[in-house]
């Protein structure tokens, strides 16, 4: 396989996404998946949540939270297909498919976050 000039950039996205998935996902899962529904912590009201999410900084944060781990997945999955299944002849196709999916997912997230009211 050739090392494209993009590799360092793709790796940066991969590693940023991995950091987010490892450190921030558990916090969100704990708060929204356990602590609020089980009443361990008092859940903020719907209005308060909506106000919070409408703030541009929150939207940017959510975008990073969604998009970067998608690139983490893309990088991992690419090498799982490439090395794991040894699909060496499909290397370009696999790369386009994986990073394309991450780009698509990020675009969808951006679109939804942009249009949140």
């Amino acid at each position: 396989m050739t090392t494209g000039r993009l590799t360092p950039f793709l790796w940066t996205l991969f590693s940023a996404g991995g950091t987010i998935a490892a450190f921030l996902f558990p916090v969100h899962l704990f708060l929204i998946g356990l602590a609020f529904p089980l009443g361990w912590l008092e859940a903020p009201s719907y209005e308060a949540f909506r106000l919070l999410i409408q703030h541009p900084v929150t939207r940017l944060y959510l975008f990073a939270l969604i998009s970067l781990p998608l690139f983490h997945w893309a990088h991992r999955f690419r090498y799982t297909l490439y090395d794991g299944l040894q699909l060496y002849h499909l290397t370009v196709f696999i790369a386009v498919l994986c990073y394309g999916a991450a780009l698509g997912g990020s675009a969808a997230a951006a679109y939804m976050l942009w249009n949140l009211r």
């Binding site: 396989m1 090392t3 590799t7 360092p8 950039f9 590693s15 991992r76 090395d83 040894q86």
Partner: protein, 247 residues
């Protein structure tokens, strides 16, 4: 009758065997014995033709690495009691060409080690009268962990990329490069970055992490490679944003 344990050992004598095959030996079991003791028992008492490398018997020389029940291990640190009731499968290190029995050809590994220029490189070397190059304990700490490598090659036998991509320079070599990059006396980090910034170098690694799992000296080669990647990524980012910069 004293207890015994079986060892299934790979034999390959190129002058008579078409390919490597297992041979089983029954050796006494003692709970203070390691796999290397059992191999030495075989060589001394049962079959003097069995060939394997070893020297220090204390995890220092790095020569006794083999696959024990499929995992890369220093056989001088692998206690028989951890493999009860046996049999214990002993094979030469994964991904290396077998020369004879448990002995592998390490020529390629040696070539990869030197490829990363693992020595101190300086633009200007002081004359002897100026004294030694001094280093603070903090400066030593930055690379000390990566300097503990004993070249046992367990990390190569554990790394699937080493198996898939013969040109991949491998975990220990990159950790060693990082050891010199972080040394305050060295000035060749940029040079090593050029050598290692390709698919045969750091970008071949897909962060499987097995190297760090098996390393008997806690060198953490996977950590060294990720550190190296971060430097390379920042460097690439810089030359992308400032193309007229110093590179």
């Amino acid at each position: 009758m004293p207890p015994t344990i079986a060892l299934d050992v790979i034999r390959y004598r190129p002058e008579q065997d078409a390919e490597p095959a297992f041979q089983t030996y029954e050796v006494p079991f003692r709970d203070d014995w390691v796999v290397l003791d059992a191999l030495n028992y075989i060589k001394d008492r049962l079959d003097g033709s069995l060939s394997f490398r070893w020297s220090c018997r204390m995890g220092v020389c790095g020569s006794c690495g083999m696959m024990v029940n499929g995992k890369p291990k220093l056989t001088c640190a692998a206690f028989l009691s951890d493999y009860l009731p046996g049999p214990v499968r002993v094979e030469p290190l994964n991904y290396f060409p077998i020369m004879r029995d448990l002995i592998v050809d390490i020529t390629d590994f040696m070539r990869k080690l030197t490829k990363v220029k693992p020595w101190i490189i300086r633009d200007q070397v002081w004359p002897l009268e100026e004294g030694e190059y001094r280093q603070t304990p903090e400066q030593l700490d930055t690379y000390k962990q990566f300097s503990q490598c004993i070249n046992c090659m367990l990390c190569y036998a554990a790394c699937p990329i080493v198996g898939l991509e013969p040109e991949f320079v491998g975990p220990a070599a990159i950790a060693l490069a990082q050891r010199y990059n972080l040394d305050s006396r060295d000035e060749a980090a940029g040079e090593r970055l050029k050598i290692l910034s390709d698919h045969a170098g750091i970008w071949g690694c897909t962060f499987v992490g097995e190297c760090t799992q098996v390393c008997p000296k806690h060198v953490d080669p996977a950590g060294a490679i990720q550190q190296f990647k971060l430097t390379a990524a920042l460097d690439a980012l810089k030359s992308f944003l400032v193309p007229w910069g110093t590179r």
